[in-house]
Amino acid sequence: MSLLKAEGLFKSFGKTHALDGADISIRAGEVVAVMGPSGSGKSTLLHCIAGILPPDKGTVHYSGQDLTAMNDSKRSELRRTEFGFVFQFGQLVPELTCLENVALPLRLSGMKRKDAERASRDWLARLEVDGVADQRPGETSGGQGQRVAVARALVTRPKVIFADEPTGALDSLNGERVMHLLTTAARETGAAVVLVTHEPRVAAYSDREVVVRDGRSRDVEFAR
């Protein structure tokens, strides 16, 4: 039984066909690597199934709801409450401290500042970056920043975490550390992870992979 299932996605930007009939299916709690050469449509696929970008054609179902039928604010709310996001870089708000960055999604969901920051501090500790809680992202190293981002993605206990090249800007050691912490934490909280990457060693942290090529995806699970 899939938690998130997208069928026949088409999406073009001008004359470029980023997605050309892509399918994907994600089951609860599994880690799926989305692989493929650059420009193959991996990121667009992620944006579409995460409800960031509405596809031109096709459907995206998340636990029984059709994302493509939702309006922007409804999708926003879904992303805020059910999904978590980790990007390659530049995702932390530069003005806020790391702690405030992690607390932001909780506060947006109406949690009191104190409670939100207490919960966030726990997550920072879990990702071994509680030392930078009161610094601004600009003052931390790349690896620390990505861990803070992972903490922010996990703090709302989402059902799905979308990670787009989360280690793209990191060296091997830091990259592996982030992947280890991300997948371990996701497995502990039962979150599924959709991991867009072109690095095989990063993809090796997944349970299975989906290959995207020329806007079409090859998902073995989907056929089943």
């Binding site: 930007f13 990121s43 944006h47 805020r80 996001f85 999604p105």
Partner: protein, 744 residues
Amino acid sequence: MNRVMSDLALGVRLAVGGSRKSWARLALQGVGIGLGVALLLFAASLPSVMEARDDRQDARNPVTEGAGPAPLLAIEQGHPFRSEYIRGSYLKARSPEAPVPPGIDRVPGDGEIFVSPALAALLDAPGGELLKPRFPQKVIGTIGQAGLQNPNELHFYAGDAKIQEEPDGNTVYGWGVPNDGGGLNPVLWLLSVVGLVVLLFPVLVFVGVATRLAAAQRDRRLAALRLVGAAASRVRLIASGEALAGALAGLVVGFGIFFAVRPSVNGISIAELSTFSSDVMPAPALTVTVVVAVPVLAVVTSLVAMRRTIIEPLGVVRDQKPVRRRLWWRLVPVAAGVALLVSQIGELSATARPDPWPVVTGIVLLMLGIPVLLPWLVERVVFTVRGGSPALQLAVRRLQLDSGTAARVVGGVAVVLAGTVTLQMTLAGVEQDVRTNEEKEASFSYLTINPDPAVDPGAITAALEKTAGVDGVHEIGRTFGELNSGEYVVVTIASCEALRSQATVPDCVDGKAYVVPFSNGLVEAKAGDVLTIKKSGERWTVPAVETVEGTRPGLVVTPAAARGLRAEQFELIAVLDGAVPDVAEHTRNALAAYPWQMHTYFVGQDDTNEAERVFGVIRRALLAGSLLTLLVAAGSLLVVALEQVRERRRPLAVMAASGVPRGTLARSLLWQNALPLAISTVVSLATGIGLGVLVMRVSGSSVAFDWAGIGLVTAVVVGLTLAVTALTLPSLRRATGALGLRTE
């Protein structure tokens, strides 16, 4: 030195050369600075305008003394017509060599008249027939520019053979005598000084802001220069070169605007404000000052702004821990300004001008204090804000990192606001005084006639009584004296019947005496005071007086109480029926047979409206000016806001992707714009009101608050905040689209 020049040149080339964007930026700067320069040039022309005006006024002053019999007799006369006042001279040439006044080609003969173009237009306009009876002469030409102060002046030269030489000197031997004295009313003078400073100061602030337009982009470019090995000092020079390019473009545009607009100043017709285009010539010294000061200001602003923006080879470092601003030196200008103004309180009496420099310097310092103080204040407030919604938190944190840019922009807004509030208050104060007088007069309706002693009062009375709308004619006497305190007092001697027409005296009986206080409540004489009569030097003790409302401040005495007083002047009062339209003008026309033998003054309802109209015009002009400046400031704020969105495109896109509602992001932008503006509004209202009170104290007029105006300007500021935020939204929407997530 050579290298300095070449670095500057490189900066200029960077500003000019290259992409369409750099041209667009240069054009923006050019227009921005150009507007300021044009304004400055017009301001620099004020001395020449005033001078030309004074020169022409001097040129038409008669030379009253000379050898031999005077070749020309002239009587200056003013004719009130509704709310206008028509000045001119009645002339009688006694020799062919009679000197011709400036602006006309000969002395008009009996029954001939030269009129100014404005007077000609007034006579031809609808309603002009009401004025015609007073100018029955044959129009033989119009007065040229040489004989007029301003294009809209109502002026005439009429020939009249009936003029007789008089002992107090209506003889004319020539034209052109410098005349000191007169000039601007001190309160008006102070108003103009405040107005000039207030309007020009934001121009300077704006020139500074315009120099920093698109600064982030430029900083990135300069960072690239650092990367190829330019030292920080050279980068500063290059940046100065860029600022210089903008300033020079601004100067060119400014002079262009100035000369393009100059020909149309003839058309501006706010009463005394109109001027001849050819008079608008910027003073050379001031022009040089503008030409030098604008580029210097641009370069200095640019360098000061970069003081904290350390340009590093790899992009611009902005994330450094902000340096806390220090307070003490920022307080110096404000404190000095207040001290100077306080020291001038009461210096401005009804007639004397105070030394202008302490007042002007005080005002300038106080105005300067605002933009200097604001960054500190914004920072202080921003650092004390705790808690609040996520939107507020985002805005506050952003401002904590860089409040300087926003504070600089709103500094310009604040100066405009403070200045407008000050001017409005000062205006309201003056208006209140005028209005109190007018309102007092409004409940009466009469025309006073001061005839020449040679005219037979009986003939006048007869003419008046024949006129429709004249309910009665009374004669009153006047004399003038000085109290022990040195106070100058007008004493009116009138019967109860005559008195009722100009004061509220319901229980008047002969033998009573009254005092009519000044509009500011000052009662000038009380029983027992000793009055020294001006002309005779006789002494007269003031009897018991009742304080009453009336149109003319001073003592009013019934004949029985006036024993020991002799009237020096006689005056006729024609009581008019206010229900008859234009009754005053008809009455004056009835006296047209005595064109220069009498002065008339109408007390009635019209003038309140007129005062309202004049003040309305001034207020609207002021409001329009400040709104324009606010718009320009809002424009700069928009540029800053757009740049900030651009700069933070990625975090914004990621936040939107992670489900942060756009509303939250929009609200954080709103807070980010609103916080500095709110602070600056409070500061400028406080400064404006404080400055207004100080200025009014200096000028000795009563303190009044123009809450409607203050409210309006504040509302405009709020509206502009919303508008700027709203205009930022499309770019926010673009930034938060999924495309913003793309890595470049």
